[in-house]
Symmetry: C2
């Protein structure tokens, strides 16, 4: 595939397309139109065509998109074939929920370590994985690099831990704490999960609906 | 305050403003300019002025926004003063992480019940709260209504559970499963958390950065 620069806004929608293609493929569907994708995703067909135009050869007028081929290509762009390694920093309930339930391995991400500072956690296991002390992060990552840092530690430690991860060569920080991290030039890509914003944007829409 | 219709895209950004106002207030800051908010949130000052123009009286040229007053107003719009009740459906690790760590009560949301179908969970407790059988949802909600349903059950049960919650009068569904729920006319407001999309949009941006 020719490497064209995909806009960030489009990249943000690719996982959604990927999930739908996965459902379609599980149903044995071989091709899909932008109109059908529109009905399932709630995005407009023209938005979808624009987002997927960066994968030109998989959509043809009157044919639609080739489901397995487009899905393979999206997996590539989304890093699922990069063999990424991830460390989890913070061994609380949320980390446990992620480690036990999130299908990292199915999508090509290898969890290579869980870290915490609490004496009662270090040396124990979380979801079957050994928990190391956060102080060990730098030298453990020097020996076995990881591209992804998953932050689930308390909010007040997020910024320092993000710096530690960044110094240790991590390329992306998935910030599941309730502190915002801002990207700086040359630092890892940062994704703030922010469950607070998600819940209260819903509550705000509930109220605005009542008002109409 | 006069009731003006606030666009959904603006409502989605209000929780972010709320969090920053909270930090500012904790630091004793009494007023803030859109430029200062812009530096902290990463949104443009003109976007911020437009979003907050629906709260006209709190921003004045050359003065900025009155922090406590604007924060109070946002709390109102975000439903934090509505006395909302929420039920949690699905008593797994993620539910445990939420119930134990998410500051629902601090923001005016009362958790009124946890539900699951697993015999080993029903009758037990989760984060100090009794777990009821999901079959009890309709009559328990008939007696003690809840406005918010928090879905943390397995993805394949999400649609049926959303219907149950909708029939029981819930006004908003915070969908933390990895199944998408689509809103229909007259159904509750739906917010899909989708951790998958968040993680892989980050991975996609990591790859696109490498390519430049």
């Amino acid at each position: 595939m020719k490497k064209r620069k995909i806009p960030e806004a489009s990249i943000r929608r690719l996982p959604l397309y990927y999930r739908y293609l996965e459902l379609l493929q599980a149903d044995g569907v071989e091709r899909v139109s932008s109109t059908a994708l529109s009905l399932r995703t709630g995005l407009t067909a023209s938005q979808i065509r624009q987002d997927l135009s960066y994968f030109g050869e998989f959509g043809r007028q009157g044919y639609g998109y080739d489901v397995p081929a487009l899905k393979r290509e999206l997996a590539e762009i989304l890093g699922m074939r990069q063999g990424y390694h991830a460390v989890v920093v913070g061994a609380g309930r949320f980390a446990e929920a992620l480690v036990e339930n999130f299908p990292f391995q199915e999508y090509g991400i290898q969890l290579s370590g869980v870290y915490d500072t609490a004496p009662e956690k270090v040396g124990g296991t979380l979801g079957g994985r050994r928990v190391y002390h956060t102080d060990e992060l730098p030298y453990r990552l020097a020996a076995h690099p990881a591209e992804i840092g998953i932050l689930t530690a308390p909010a007040e430690t997020a910024k320092d831990l993000a710096n530690t991860l960044s110094d240790a060569g991590v390329k992306g920080i998935w910030n599941c704490t309730n502190a915002d991290l801002r990207p700086h030039h040359g630092t890892p890509v940062i994704e703030n999960v922010q469950l607070f914003d998600s819940l209260f944007s819903m509550c705000g829409r509930m109220g605005s609906r009542e008002g109409t």
